[in-house]
């Protein structure tokens, strides 16, 4: 019998599913497309409603996952083929060449300092910082191993440079490394690929990418993070000054039929509330205002959290849509909104947009490989929306986290465990019928 499971996506849902399975003695192949596991949660600063430091609570799980004898972590890899059926799948996994020998690299960072190819946007920092051609996505990356970006590396593109190879005393750099394809037999598959952040520049009324001091919420998360590009100092793009007042605008692109995101992303009301509170913790006299449609604070402790934001942090909540214009002289922003049918305008130093969170752009491709159906919005369709949300139309293929539809961290974790339960059931069934 095949006692192994393939988990796609090394975010918190995938990590949870992997740990649950591995702890039961199941061999797990965890496939993650980026160089490190951790996913979106690793990017966040704090988590609501406890304001726990996100990476602090996630890092031990990442380490557990990587160090687990039953988990084979395949970072920088993608699933490219799946054959067979429940109980006996043959998966083809593409291991992209990272040009660094994982077993030799100690993560000392010497090469990261010396690589001459700079100025590449750092995705982990939501583009707010740059990285070099050889990089580690973030300080707590797991595995703590460098990766060479083949599109930018001077040696790989032009055949000259080789600085990283020279400085690496462990001889971990291998420019000859090739992409490899692994054939893996598994009994079940769990897909937990998470979300992408929608780029709000399409919606011109918010001025994103036109006005320098308009940020997405993900950018703001990195801005407030002590390990982020500004060392946790919230400063404006235009003049590096600390803002005195910040507007948070909700439902940017979501709950919007025209943009084909008529849905609610479930987490934005809360993360904006959290971000407004954190702004206050960083600088006490800062004023924060949240413009919202419905304040969806509807999980355990959330409503009380919003109450605390109002009472103890003085966060202002305005029930209105809002649009953004710019005061050209000082790059301050003018937010227009309605209160009780009356149009109003207010000036802010910074605007943070709670943008729609959409399925990964790789989702259609992956869905084809898995053979699962997608909903009209690109989420993976459940077998039954009521009683079998973590199951798909393909027996033996299960889903968890945001790829199955909007979910916050605890829901993603619960679904990760739930998918693990279904996967074990599948393995047991296969054993019984064999």
């Amino acid at each position: 019998m095949e006692r192994s499971v393939l988990v796609i996506g090394g975010g918190v849902a995938g990590i949870q599913a992997s740990l649950d399975l591995a702890d039961k003695g199941v061999i797990v192949h965890l496939v993650e497309s980026s160089p490190s596991i951790g996913g979106r949660m690793a990017q966040l600063d704090k988590t609501f409603p406890t304001n726990d430091c996100s990476i602090c609570i996630l890092a031990p799980k990442m380490a557990d996952c990587y160090g687990h004898p039953n988990i084979n972590v395949l970072t920088y890899s993608e699933l490219i083929g799946l054959e067979g059926r429940k109980g006996r799948f043959q998966a083809r996994v593409l291991r992209k060449a990272r040009y660094v020998d994982e077993s030799k690299c100690t993560g000392c960072g010497e090469c990261l300092q010396k690589c001459p190819t700079k100025g590449i946007p750092n995705d982990f920092e939501a583009g707010l910082a740059t990285r070099r051609a050889i990089y580690m996505p973030f300080l707590q990356a797991v595995p703590r191993v460098a990766t060479i970006d083949r599109e930018h590396c001077k040696f790989l593109t032009e055949g000259k440079c080789g600085v990283c190879k020279k400085v690496c005393k462990r001889e971990a750099i291998d420019y000859e490394m090739k992409d490899a394809i692994l054939e893996i037999e598994v009994g079940a598959v769990i897909c937990a690929t998470g979300y992408d952040v929608w780029n709000p520049k399409v919606a011109g009324e918010y001025g994103y990418e036109r006005f320098p001091n308009v940020y997405t919420a993900m950018e703001y998360e990195r801005l407030t993070n002590a390990a982020g590009p500004t060392g946790g100092h919230v400063v404006r793009r235009s003049d590096s000054q600390e803002p005195r007042n910040i507007a948070f605008i909700q439902c940017v692109g979501s709950r919007n039929v025209q943009l084909n995101h008529p849905y609610c992303c479930e987490v934005c009301c809360m993360h904006s509330t959290k971000e407004a509170m954190l702004a206050k913790e960083h600088k006490e006299d800062i004023k924060t205002t949240i413009f919202y449609k419905d304040l969806r604070a509807c999980s355990k402790g959330f409503f009380e959290y919003v109450g605390r934001a109002k009472r103890d942090y003085g966060v202002e909540f305005v029930n209105s849509d809002a649009t953004v214009q710019e005061e050209t002289e000082n790059h301050n922003l003018i937010v227009s909104y309605d209160v009780a049918g009356k149009s109003e305008r207010r000036e802010f130093d910074m605007v943070v947009l709670a943008t729609t969170l959409i399925p990964r752009d790789s989702m259609p491709r992956l869905a084809k490989v898995l053979g699962v159906e997608l909903t009209e919005f690109g989420f993976i369709r459940s077998k039954d929306r009521i009683l079998a949300r973590v199951e798909t139309s393909v027996p033996g293929v299960y889903i968890a986290g945001y790829c199955a539809g909007p979910a916050d961290i605890p829901e993603s974790v619960a679904q990760g465990s739930a998918a693990a339960a279904k996967a074990v059931e599948a393995l047991v069934e296969a054993r019984v019928s064999a």
Partner: protein, 257 residues
């Protein structure tokens, strides 16, 4: 004092503050070399008497680092840490040592820069306070011993251990104790236990009269007499000699030291 380099011992919890210190390293945030850190699983492990003994060993400063309140890896550990540090500071004060030589900091695993800043600031503070007087001042050292012994006393440890339960959930009858009132009770108990142990420390080597004791403890003679009575009833102090009309007492040393 310009060449004074403070010796600082740190107790850092594995999950947050030690990780924060690691991150300071990974990010290359520079700070003074004065701190020598000891890793513990949780800051709650560090008990008051242990901290006081570290001061006895000559530390100019001691820093305890834990997770932020609410973030403790062991759920509630750091709530107890906070209480223990408060009690330790009180005992330091009673012994006559600046409580600022002991610092409690919450440092999360992502606060590398803050970790560096906190250490730098503490080193600066201890530099201002100057070298610990303990290695050179035997009188203070004896008072510190008394504080250390007081920290081991059943009553004080029991009170300190129950503080969160009594002020939060309430006692067996569901009555909550006002935190301020509890603070007073604890402070009074600390004072009493310190004075009693000071008497014991003083009389370990030589028999003393109540008057002689009072001179050292700084309390009134009648108050000191009360303590002597209490210690005698606990069988910790014995009448040694009577010189003229003055009785002199000596501590009963248990365990045959």
């Amino acid at each position: 004092m310009s060449d004074f380099e403070p010796r600082i011992v740190g107790f850092l919890c594995n999950w947050c503050s030690y990780a924060g210190a690691d991150l300071a390293g990974v990010s290359r945030f520079q700070y003074p070399t004065n701190i020598r850190s000891i890793r513990v699983m949780c800051s709650t492990r560090v008990s008051p008497h242990l901290l006081l003994e570290v001061f006895k060993a000559g530390a100019d400063g001691v820093m305890v680092g834990g997770c932020h309140i609410g973030d403790c890896h062991y759920i509630t550990g750091n709530y107890y840490t906070e209480k223990r540090i408060m009690l330790t500071k009180e005992l330091l004060r009673l012994a006559g040592i600046e409580p600022d030589r002991l610092r409690l900091e919450w440092i999360s695993a992502s606060e590398g820069e803050r970790c560096a800043n906190v250490v730098a600031d503490f080193v600066k503070k201890v530099r201002e306070l100057g070298p610990s007087p303990i290695p050179r001042d035997s009188r203070l050292a004896l008072r510190l011993d008394a504080a250390t012994e007081a920290a081991k006393v059943f009553r004080l440890r029991l009170l300190s251990g129950k503080e969160i339960k009594l002020t939060g959930e309430g006692n067996a009858y569901g009555e909550k104790v006002d935190p301020e009132r509890f603070g007073n009770i604890l402070r009074n108990a600390a004072q009493e236990e310190f004075q009693r142990n000071l008497i014991l420390e003083l009389t370990k080597c030589s028999a003393l009269s109540v008057k002689e004791m009072a001179k050292e403890t700084g309390e009134a003679t009648d108050a000191t007499l009360e303590r002597v009575v209490a210690l005698r009833s606990k069988n910790l102090l014995a009448l040694s000699v009577v010189e003229g009309m003055t009785p002199k007492y000596k501590a009963i040393i248990v365990g045959g030291v």
